[in-house]
């Protein structure tokens, strides 16, 4: 009888786990929206992330070898030919997929989904198989091919809230988890169960000069992201892969002529 109970509990849990929206049952589901009609491709977000998250300066040679590390990058796509040529920019960062292909890949659980819907990356657990990066359809995982150093005294600007990664370790956008942690701590100190909308602002979102990005908890219907997600321009990149990303893009609007 007891075994039967255990089994049914197990089956129940497993079902729950398979159900889409599993993370809705937790307090937070961190989500980002990016409005491509605002984004100008200015790359302020790229530098913001580099500064906040101690991304290495890899140098010209490493760039030439395609070994750059930029947790958020701007992808460029041309449409048409001269003179009717158009440029489309799209900021590409970890989509924090709810059904993340990268997560099944990791043999040591260095990357896994946390209860806030984040795809987390534990650097000191990573053994560097790079499977997660091969599996990631958005190619937003970056590997430390070398141990990068900073020309003295550039190391003084390193953010003490974020570790510096060594060679052999995979890294990627964390949705600025250090800022999420800080906001949660502050909420706890204030005897609040949840952080307020707008209390967590990742570095890229913070910097964006056109206010193209929004970040928040999509479990909260009143949050800005929840409202942005409802915009009819909303879509997710490579939707047919069913990775259920936590980043909703709003496609560029067109001028009425």
């Amino acid at each position: 009888m007891k075994w039967g109970n255990d089994l049914s509990t197990f089956v129940e849990k497993f079902r729950q786990y398979l159900k889409p929206g599993y993370y809705d049952e937790f307090d937070y589901h961190w989500t980002m929206t990016i409005d491509l009609d605002r984004c100008t491709g200015c790359e302020a977000c790229v530098v913001a992330c580099q500064a906040e998250n101690n991304l290495p300066i890899v140098g010209e040679k490493r760039y030439a070898q395609n070994r750059e590390i930029k947790w958020i990058r701007i992808e460029r796509y041309w449409e048409g030919e001269y003179p009717d040529v158009k440029m489309g920019f799209i900021p590409m960062l970890c989509q924090h997929c709810d059904a993340a292909p990268c997560e099944i890949a990791c043999p040591v659980f260095a990357t896994y989904h946390n209860q806030d819907g984040l795809n987390t990356q534990i650097y000191n657990r990573c053994i560097g198989t790079r499977t997660c990066a091969v599996y990631c359809p958005y190619e937003v995982r970056y590997f430390n091919w070398f141990t990068y150093t900073w020309d003295e005294p550039l190391e003084q600007q390193l953010n003490p809230d974020v570790t510096v990664r060594e060679k052999g370790v995979m890294e990627k956008c964390t949705f600025c988890i250090q800022r999420i942690r800080l906001a949660k701590d502050n909420a706890k100190d204030d005897d609040r169960r949840r952080v307020r909308d707008g209390e967590v602002v990742p570095a890229c979102v913070q910097s964006c000069p056109t206010e193209a990005m929004a970040f928040g908890d999509s479990n909260d219907p009143e949050a800005k992201v929840s409202k942005m997600m409802k915009d009819p321009r909303g879509y997710t990149v490579l939707e047919e892969l069913n990775t259920t990303p936590s980043i909703v893009y709003l496609k560029k609007a067109h001028a009425e002529s």
């Binding site: 580099q50 440029m87 910097s207 001028a255």
Partner: protein, 747 residues
């Protein structure tokens, strides 16, 4: 060798190899050196480990004057973000502004005063004490002053605003030299001159992009490099999607698609140098089609007579239909705004083009209107920023004076004319005639390398100062700069250096300029301003503390006061045919050279910052280098592939750069980013790429006296060599995949 020993040898090799691998594995798996958590024995008082403090100050990476907040942990600057209460940046920041940390912690900063020990230009410098260096300069200038030869002392700075500007002016004034001038390559002199002509106001007005419905930009990369990119980006975001049901439209006129061109709904590649003509063509239609009904309609009609759509179409290579369409939209939009900048205001016709664009604004009736041009009627402080911008004419005068041996001491601060001027100016050669060159600089750029004495300055993040953004934001604003960290090296704030010099020179100077430090001076001036404005509800100390904390003081209410609406008469009078004259004949030089400011390195000042060198160029994704862009058709005609090293030649000179095929470039144009090609300026900048200023012919727009850096013809020759252009882009077509929008959007 016996059998046994061979065997042994092999065993040793094997064992050694395995042992070595094991050793590495072991050493990799154990801990690394432990670093000290708190480096100082007695830490500063505002220092609490683990707690971040934020200090507000001003960005100095371009002349927009964004307010910034710097995050400090354990006494070190960790991050720069926009100051949320600052009206220019409103909490946001561009890539350059955020890279300010690379300025502060740059490994190539000058760390102590240096002298070249009499060997100028060799690049050899030796440490010297502050006392000695200040005495040397002080006594030299003092002697000139006593001999009434103070006009032989010249001061050349970059963009300097706020009370540092006043300090310099006072210093030179008290010496008795009126030769204090500023030169900033990016300063929109032509715009200012044109605005003075059109509106009779000698200032840059506020362009209210935020509330515009149609923004027609002639060459102004307002989102990337023009005047106040962060502020414009904020406005742009709002204009696009910040107003429910009202999406503003943007049109960009330029031969090479800039960041703003990429964002625009329409990109119009008029023939280079004819952008102003296009503006007049549109103006013509506005008047003739009855979109403008002012009392001076007839005068407008007369002066625009010559710019019929057909005539303009022939010149600009833009179809008549397209011109009419643009005019109709401009005439019918609720708030239509036209701006000019970039190459449009860098021809021999710069002012004429800017006046033509002003004419559009007149005709659209947007002067003093929301979504139009707002004049900064009430400036904070008495300062009128930008008045000391020498323009090219001022530089030529300086060069002439130096050549004539009229300059004994040249003080250069934060300006790099050797890099950012064409060789034709002869600045570098003229320096040979100057007995003493003193550089006040944080970095050994090309000009500093030529100095005899280098006075190392603090970076802006270690200095006191203040700033009045230029242009303002439509209401009075002033920002405070304060040091956010303790000075890293044996360097001084530039203001403090000047005040030390004051004391060295002696005479009546110390009396007139009694402040010991820049901090003292700024505070006193703010006190005066405070008293003048007479806000009685606080005492000054409280006001000062509040201003320091906020990093900014402003009076947002003042904007909506009585706005000046200048009449169109002066604009009408100033309209002339804005067709640029290009150096070089079309037969010898079939292409037009289009230099443009790099989105990250700007005019080259960012080239020493590794974060910016590593930032992919927004349109091409190139990092760490320069390149020459060609339209695919032009490239095919010339048999050029991407990565072929081209010799780009103009009447002024030639450079070798790899070719990049760029789809959004007018055929017959060769475009090159400005910013690389440094021969000095630290490890990240030196010997990287080419400087297109080496190609620019010395031509001046008479009406503004500014350099016409976009008015040179060029030809390219395939050298047959190849060079890898380092870029991050793979394939730049979506191949029909769901990337930029839902799949059903793609045909």
């Amino acid at each position: 060798m016996s059998k046994i020993s061979r065997r042994d040898l092999l065993q040793y090799i094997g064992a050694g190899g395995i042992g070595a691998v094991g050793g590495v594995l072991y050493s990799e798996s154990i801990e690394r050196d432990v670093e000290l958590l708190i480096p100082q024995v007695v830490p500063p008082e505002d220092y609490s480990p683990g707690i971040a403090t934020w200090y507000n100050t001003v960005c100095n990476q371009c002349s927009a004057g964004c307010g910034i907040s710097v995050r400090i942990r354990e006494g070190k600057a960790k991050k720069i973000e926009g100051n949320p209460v600052h009206p220019v940046s409103q909490g946001r920041l561009c890539a350059r502004g955020q890279s300010g940390l690379n300025v502060l912690y740059n490994p190539d900063r000058i760390r102590e005063p240096l002298t070249n020990a009499g060997q100028r230009g060799t690049g050899n410098f030796y440490p010297i004490s502050w006392d000695e260096v200040l005495t040397t300069i002080g006594s030299r200038i003092g002697r000139l002053k006593i001999e009434n030869n103070a006009s032989r002392v010249r001061l050349l700075t970059g963009r300097v605003r706020g009370h540092l500007d006043e300090l310099f002016a006072q210093f030179m004034g008290l010496l008795g030299s009126d030769h204090y001038q500023q030169y900033d390559f990016t300063y929109p002199s032509a715009l200012k001159a044109a605005n003075k002509i059109s509106f009779g106001i000698d200032q840059l007005p506020y362009y209210d992009i935020k509330n515009a419905d149609l923004l027609l930009s002639f060459g102004a990369d307002y989102l990337g490099t023009w005047i106040s990119p962060v502020h414009h980006s904020l406005a742009y975001g709002h204009m696009r999607q910040g107003r429910a049901g009202r999406r503003g439209k943007t049109v960009q006129v330029e031969p090479r698609m800039s960041l703003s061109g990429a964002a625009a709904d329409e990109w119009v590649a008029a023939r280079p140098g004819t952008e102003g003509l296009l503006a007049l063509g549109i103006a013509h239609i506005l008047v003739s089609d009855g979109h403008y009904n002012g009392s001076d309609r007839d005068q407008w009609s007369d002066v625009l007579q010559a710019y019929s759509p057909s005539a303009v179409s022939a010149e600009t290579d833009i179809s008549e239909g397209n011109i009419r369409q643009l005019a109709r939209e401009f005439g019918t939009s609720k708030a239509a705004l036209a701006i000019a900048g970039g190459a449009t205001t860098a021809g021999t016709n710069a002012v004429a083009s800017a006046v033509a664009v002003n004419a559009l604004n007149h005709l659209a009736g947007n002067l003093g209107q929301p979504g139009g041009i707002i004049f900064n009627s009430d400036q904070a402080f008495s300062a009128t920023p930008g008045t000391r911008q020498a323009g090219m004419q001022g530089i030529l005068d300086l060069v002439e004076a130096m050549e004539a041996g009229e300059v004994d001491v040249l003080l250069v601060h934060d300006s790099n004319p050797i890099f950012s001027l064409p060789d034709g100016v002869g600045f570098r050669q003229a320096l040979d005639k100057v007995p003493l060159i003193v550089a006040l600089s944080s970095f050994r750029d090309e000009t500093t390398e030529q100095a005899d004495l280098i006075l190392p300055t603090n970076t802006y993040l270690e200095s006191w100062g203040d700033d009045v953004p230029d242009p303002g934001v439509g209401f009075p604003v002033a920002s405070i700069s304060q040091p956010v960290v303790t000075t890293l090296y044996d360097t001084l704030p530039v203001g403090d250096i000047m005040l030390s010099l004051v004391r060295q020179i002696g005479g009546e100077l110390p009396m007139a300029m009694p402040w010991r430090t820049m901090e003292e001076f700024v505070k006193e001036r703010w006190r005066e301003e405070y008293e003048k404005r007479g806000s009685a509800d606080q005492d000054f100390e409280a006001f000062w503390q509040a201003a320091l904390e906020a990093g900014v003081w402003g009076q947002p209410g003042v904007m909506t006061g009585d706005q000046i609406v200048p009449s169109g008469a002066s604009t009408i009078a100033a309209i002339t045919n804005p067709a640029s004259q290009f150096a070089g004949s079309e037969t010898d030089y079939p292409l037009v050279l289009h230099p443009y400011l790099s989105a990250s390195l700007l005019d080259g000042r960012g080239a020493n910052l590794p974060w910016l060198q590593e930032l992919p160029d927004p349109l091409t994704s190139v990092v760490y280098g320069s390149w020459a862009e060609l339209n695919p058709a032009t490239a095919e005609d010339l048999g050029i592939r991407e990565g072929d090293v081209l010799e780009v030649e103009t009447p002024a000179g030639s450079v070798s750069v790899p070719a990049l095929i760029f789809p959004a470039l007018r055929p017959g144009v060769v475009a090159m980013p400005i910013g690389q090609g440094h021969t000095a300026y630290g490890r990240y900048a030196r010997n990287r790429g080419a400087n297109p200023m080496d190609l620019v012919s010395m031509q001046i727009d008479d009406r503004s006296g500014d350099l016409a850096w976009a008015a040179t013809r060029a030809r390219v020759r395939n050298t047959g060599e190849r060079l890898q252009i380092i870029k991050t882009d793979g394939v730049t077509r979506t191949l029909g995949r769901q990337i930029l929008g839902p799949k059903n959007d793609h045909a």
